[in-house]
């Protein structure tokens, strides 16, 4: 079973084009996947030439690449392309906020991200040279999707040669039902926190046990429990640990309430700590 059979990315002729294409092709070759490049807008010779020039840099991989030229609403075009080509992974690039060194997903990309029928990879700094991805942080939420996510992260880690995976169990502060008022309640709440952490760690280690040993062989695995707002604190953690990639579950379909109260993923999308992989 593989999670990453077909990779799809939208290409716009921005200054980042070269880096975006390079990242995608490199990833495709590492994952041994097919790559679909979707250009939204009219085809012209100059652009076509440029794209094929880039593809020529990866000669042995060239036949796996398909380029599509289609015009229309970028959101629809890309989503449809994902469906038509049965893409497993959609790659999007992030924008950088002026001055503040913070990365976020542009309006169009955000719309695509929310509608995408497959996994998503959000690059914050696509580069032409290869930057090794060493440390991957994966969420270990208590959720049916988590097993799959962790499985996929190990596949990904092996394909791109990462050698450190940290599984982060985010525990909502509300689970610590004891409020700290004085020394006694502090003692109780510390104990409760320890218990929760232990429980979470054992849960994660059961998931880890199910993963094939061959995938785990060259990787040092850590798990870390953190208390904080879901989605947000894992991003914060990834940032201070200077992880290269953050892997998360895809959230459930958003409801009316989610629009008012931001969900985990919204935090991440509005301020990307690192490259982010969202597993469908």
């Amino acid at each position: 079973m593989t999670h990453f059979g077909t990779i799809l990315t939208g290409i716009a002729f921005s200054p980042n084009l070269k880096a975006n294409v390079f990242e995608t092709l490199r990833l495709g070759s590492m994952l041994n996947a097919k790559v679909v490049l979707v250009h939204v807008g009219k085809k012209n010779d100059k652009k076509e030439q440029l794209v094929s020039e880039y593809c020529n840099v990866f000669p042995e991989f060239k036949e796996n690449v398909t380029v599509i030229w289609e015009s229309g609403n970028p959101v629809d075009v890309i989503i449809n392309a994902c469906k038509n080509h049965k893409a497993d992974l959609l790659i999007l690039g992030a924008a950088k906020r002026q001055k503040s060194k913070r990365y976020f997903l542009g309006a169009v990309a955000k719309k695509i991200a929310k509608k995408a029928p497959c996994s998503l990879l959000l690059f914050i700094k696509p580069s032409i040279e290869r930057v090794p991805c060493r440390h991957i942080v994966v969420n270990g939420l208590k959720h049916p999707k988590t097993n799959n996510t962790i499985q996929a992260s190990f596949e990904f880690a092996n394909a791109i040669g990462s050698n450190k995976v940290t599984i982060v169990e985010e525990i909502a502060q509300s689970e610590v039902t004891i409020k700290v008022d004085d020394d006694k309640s502090l003692e109780k709440s510390t104990l409760l926190q320890e218990q929760i952490l232990e429980r979470e760690t054992s849960r994660v280690s059961t998931i880890l046990n199910e993963i094939d040993d061959s995938l785990k062989k060259n990787i040092s695995i850590k798990s870390q429990g953190i208390f904080g707002t879901r989605g947000y604190s894992i991003g914060h953690y990834a940032k201070i640990q200077r992880a290269d990639l953050l892997v998360m579950n895809k959230p459930e379909k958003s409801t009316f309430w989610d629009k008012i109260f931001p969900q985990d993923i919204d935090y991440i999308l509005s301020e990307l700590p690192t490259d982010v992989l969202i597993i469908h």
Binding site: K125, E129, V131, L186, N218, S220, H236, R242
Partner: protein
């Protein structure tokens, strides 16, 4: 002992508040009994607070005017309405306590609170000074009372009525006692607190005239305490609060002021007293606020004023060896005994003498050094302080504190030149805390900015860390940290230190200090400026400096860009070193520690990393190797042609650590049992050799000073063994 102070203070505060003197005693008794039974703090004393004097007196006089009655009757009418306000504010505090909003003051900038307290001090001082000098006047605003002070002093030299002069003298002498009491260190003198000395002397003086000179008391009868009822009368004459004004806006503004001041004063006192507690217990603030709220309601019905946790009486309590809440209870009981036995004696105390006690406390609250201190922290803090102070005196308390908050907010915006940054991030959860699995330290990282606006978030996390543990607070992802936070962090540090843990702050070295004061606000510097930073040492730098001094090492803050000697370590092969800074080192040999800043990745600046490392040169040749526990460096060493080396003699060591190098044989030779043991005992260290020197570090982040010390010990042992 405490009741000796509580008695004169209670009466004085009540009189200054324009309410019957017994109200002060009722407050102390009710507060003492109820908070002792229901409260959540340990060694605090509750009773009437000086912060409330201005509000209560203002309200009483206002309602006296409105009642249409004149003189004492009008004032009594005002008092009854204020009682209703006290009850309502008690209810409000009770609600706050149940909503766990007791920590209201967390949201107030500390300079604004300081300004407000100073204003309260000035209000008390301004008003009571005249009575102390035997010159009762009636003015409209607190400011007018203050400006009238020189006039009163001049006038006091020209009293024609000698009884007024006597009144003035009793006041001035009392003030002198208050001022000099603390300065005279005499065992016997200090047995009785200053306020009680004043009471005793005053009563003695009156008996001297009555019994020995057989003359009437020379002090003007207007300036003697009146209206102290006998014990049985107190119970018979419990006043009924007047709730007629509940519907008016003014009434609720009084209630709000009372609640605000009562909670802030209580919280500040609890915080301060917790630091004094010999057993270092943590007070349950919300429970205390609930108890105080409840005590307020009861006190209001019995004719008392707002119950507040008071710092002066509490600290006397601690100094006299109090260890639990019973001392508060007994202070209340003794007060009852005093009143029952000696209530008639109290009428012998001259009013100016009592007012001198209040003038002194007012002076302490508004002491000029407070303004100077605030200005030392930063000009902007001084500005906030003064703004709050002036608005509080000239308009009112609530307006004052609101202005203070607003001024702080605006100043923060001006300093950061960015509104967007604040608004975008204010609601985001910006604090991350976790327990590092390998070292068991608590690690707290704060993002974006940390000011009085969102300090509560950080505080909530910090409060869940047992103070016996080690905690590291990392502000390196913060662009701006304000004075309120810096000050609270210093408090936390002290609590952790006293309880045997430690709390360290890292990541401030790169923020520019607003002033030389350790509590000054910190702002992110533009990158270029870092190299020529302001020369103000952060707390961490001060600590490093003291470590250096302890070890007789040299210490250089300056950034050094000569880092070639590090570049042939394989670790740095793929990294670009910017500079090293905060370097400490042994004077003759090359054995030094430094913070280092480098970029990862040769070409694309992935991210800036700052870490603390030890570097030592050896006098003999070593094989090139690296020993570490985690696999994160695998890749680089793999490229460098290194292989994992098995050490047959030390299977456990070999299993737990990655030992890499080019020359298997010489490395196997190098690992002695002692060395293996050293590593097994200190598994978090990463050690690398480049052939003639060693590099030691733990994490790819800056180390706290405790961690530096541990690293130093390890590096030293290692050096000796290799």
């Amino acid at each position: 002992m405490v009741s000796l102070i509580a008695l004169p203070l209670g009466i004085g505060l009540a009189l200054a508040s324009e309410v019957p003197p017994i109200a002060g005693i009722v407050t102390a008794v009710v507060g003492g009994v109820l908070v002792a039974i229901l409260g959540g703090s340990n060694v605090t004393i509750t009773g009437p607070g000086n912060g409330l004097v201005g509000v209560v007196a203002g309200a009483v006089l206002l309602y006296a005017d409105q009642s249409g009655l004149t003189g004492a009757e009008g004032i009594y009418e005002g008092y009854l309405i204020v009682l209703a306000a006290v009850i309502c504010s008690g209810l409000l505090m009770l609600i706050l306590g149940f909503l766990r909003l007791g920590k209201l003051s967390n949201y107030f900038p500390s300079s604004a609170i300081q300004g407000m307290l100073a204003a309260i001090g000035l209000i008390i001082l301004g008003k009571q000074f005249h009575i102390m000098m035997g010159n009762r006047i009636s003015k409209n605003g607190s400011l007018e009372y203050l400006t009238e002070i020189p006039q009163t002093i001049i006038k006091s030299f020209s009293y024609t009525d000698s009884s007024l002069t006597f009144a003035m003298l009793s006041g001035v002498i009392s003030l002198v006692i208050m001022v000099f009491y603390a300065k005279i260190r005499n065992k016997y003198l200090q047995l009785i607190p200053a306020p009680m000395w004043i009471v005793l002397l005053a009563i003695g003086f009156s008996y001297y005239y009555e019994l020995i000179l057989q003359l009437p008391n020379p002090i003007h009868p207007d300036y003697m305490i009146s209206g102290i009822p006998e014990a049985h009368e107190i119970i018979a004459n419990i006043p009924t609060p007047n709730f007629n004004k509940v519907g008016t806006f003014g009434f609720w503004s009084v209630v709000l002021s009372l609640t605000l001041i009562a909670s802030i004063e209580s919280l500040l006192s609890i915080k301060a007293v917790d630091k004094l507690d010999p057993e270092k217990r943590r007070s349950n603030v919300n429970r205390d606020i609930k108890a105080i709220g409840f005590a307020n309601i009861i006190a209001g019905f019995l004719g008392g004023l707002n119950v507040v946790t008071v710092i002066a009486r509490s600290s006397v309590n601690v100094n006299n060896g109090a260890s639990n809440r019973s001392s508060n209870f007994f202070h209340a009981t003794f007060l009852v005994v005093f009143i029952v036995l000696f209530s008639s004696e109290l009428t012998r105390i001259p009013l100016p003498a009592l007012m001198a006690i209040l003038v002194f406390t007012g002076w302490k609250l508004a002491h000029p050094t407070k303004i100077i201190d605030t200005f030392k922290i930063g000009k902007e803090q001084g500005f906030i302080f003064l703004t709050t102070l002036i608005i509080t005196i000239s308009i009112g308390l609530i307006e004052g504190i609101l202005t203070g908050i607003l001024a702080t907010g605006i100043i923060h915006l001006i300093i950061n030149k960015s509104i967007v940054h604040f608004f975008r991030n204010i609601l985001k959860p910006n604090v991350l805390m976790f327990k590092e699995r390998d070292t068991n330290n608590y690690y707290v990282s704060v993002k974006n900015f940390c000011t009085f606006l969102n300090f509560a978030k950080l505080k909530r996390k910090l409060d869940t860390i047992p103070e016996t543990e080690e905690a590291i607070i990392d502000f390196s992802l913060c662009d701006f940290v304000d004075h309120t936070v810096m000050e609270s962090m210093a408090d936390y540090k002290e609590i952790f230190r006293k309880k045997g843990g430690s709390l360290e702050i890292i990541g401030l070295d790169l923020l520019d200090a607003g002033s030389k004061h350790p509590f000054g606000l910190r702002k992110m510097l533009p990158v270029k400026k870092v190299l020529e930073s302001t020369g103000v040492l952060t707390n961490r730098q001060e600590l490093i400096k003291s470590i250096a001094k302890e070890l007789d090492y040299s210490y250089t803050v300056r950034k050094k860009i000569e880092t070639e000697y590090l570049e042939n370590f394989i670790y740095f092969k793929t990294k670009t070193i910017n500079h090293t800074y905060n370097e400490i080192g042994k004077k003759d040999t090359v054995f030094k520690a430094f913070d280092i800043e480098f970029y990862e990745g040769e070409f694309i600046a992935k991210e800036v990393v700052r870490a603390t490392m030890f570097y030592t040169e050896l006098d003999h040749i070593l094989p090139v190797f690296s020993i570490h526990r985690e696999g994160f460096l695998e890749l680089i060493y793999h490229y460098a042609g290194f292989t994992d080396i098995k050490i047959e003699k030390e299977p456990e060591f070999s299993k737990k650590f990655y030992i890499k190098g080019e020359d298997d044989f010489s490395i196997q030779q190098l690992i002695t049992p002692e060395l293996a043991q050293l590593f097994l005992n200190n598994p978090t260290f990463h050690v690398e050799s480049n052939g003639y020197a060693l590099l030691v570090f733990t994490k790819e982040r800056l180390a706290g000073t405790n961690e530096i010390k541990k690293m130093k010990v390890f590096a030293n042992d290692l050096r000796n063994l290799i």
